[in-house]
Symmetry: C3
Subunit: 139 residues, 3 copies
């Protein structure tokens, strides 16, 4: 049984998704773990990591529109508004969409389905530097 861990940093340039499947795959390949789990964790409460469809970018645009409906920026009921209209909505979006994903490792590779990709989702409208911790456990 072995463990491996690496912290990846990204300049997330304002609200939106950025695919990080390749960066995570690289950590898995380097670790040489055949069977186990790969955890991809955002160390933030305003940016998360999700799995979704990887082929058609309009899927992520549609998710963006839907999330904006569920969690309106500057919603009248929000009290936590110190950092602007997108502050509290970013926390709520992160809770709703998720902060981390966990993926099986099978035969030394991520056992993602054909259409599954890993994405960092920045929920603030301005650019932020984000840290993602990749942890592997297995044999």
């Amino acid at each position: 049984m072995a463990t491996a861990q690496e912290t990846l940093s990204f300049d997330a340039g304002g609200r939106g998704t950025r695919e990080i499947t390749d960066e995570v795959t690289h950590v898995v390949t380097a670790a040489g773990i055949e069977t186990g789990l790969c955890h991809v964790f955002s160390r933030h409460t305003s940016a998360g990591v999700i799995i979704t469809e990887n082929a058609d970018p309009t899927v992520r645009a549609d998710l963006e529109r839907l999330l904006s409906e569920w969690v309106p920026d500057g919603w009248r009921e929000f009290r936590h508004t110190a950092e602007g209209n997108d502050d509290m909505s970013a926390h709520a979006r992160t809770l709703l969409a998720g902060d981390s994903v966990l993926i099986p490792i099978q035969n030394g590779r991520l056992a993602l389905g054909t259409w599954q990709g890993i994405f960092l989702w920045e929920h603030r409208t301005g650019g932020h530097r984000r840290e993602v911790v990749v942890t592997l456990l297995g044999d």
Copy 2:
């Protein structure tokens, strides 16, 4: 420390939930791990795995109604519509409800609470074959 992994396949017959607690329990029992974690992962972006109340089927019917309110099939703002009215909504439903669950193993058994069951939730309206990867890590 040991690992075990098995891929289960299900004919998910159109939108709805199907309990898979027994199938997952069987993998745990066969592995002989006393203390650890059990990961149940859907390899799809239109069908996920959830934990919810296992006693009264109206709970899942109510979740179904609520999810249909949050993510209307054929929502006017969706652009990803190539495969029909339930295509994009299925991706959004999977993100919202979750694609995988992680459950403690305690004394060789899933440490689920009395009312917790594991369910495969098919979000497309038509029938699909779905793969679920069960990964165990522990002692």
Copy 3:
């Protein structure tokens, strides 16, 4: 590679969040695992564990208001109403907000970001005793 597991019990006094970061940290410190994962799991379908902003309590109050919008108590479409207006909404809130979190362990400590805290979220309006299983795997 080592495992550690502890079940924590809390008197969750009615709907709302309660920070449990210290209790989870204590389990991690006692286990002496340097690199790995920490899983915090609610054994209930009406109370979950989340990560969110830990500095300003209005964030959790705002999340509470938003969740009440998404999942109204006593929604007219609910059929599972045996235990009252907050019964089915509590199941739906748990699904939406999440039942468990998974956090990297780095250098013997939880690798939470500066603003991330762990919270038990009771979704029933009355008080309940809740069990949270903390499982650690790593080196």
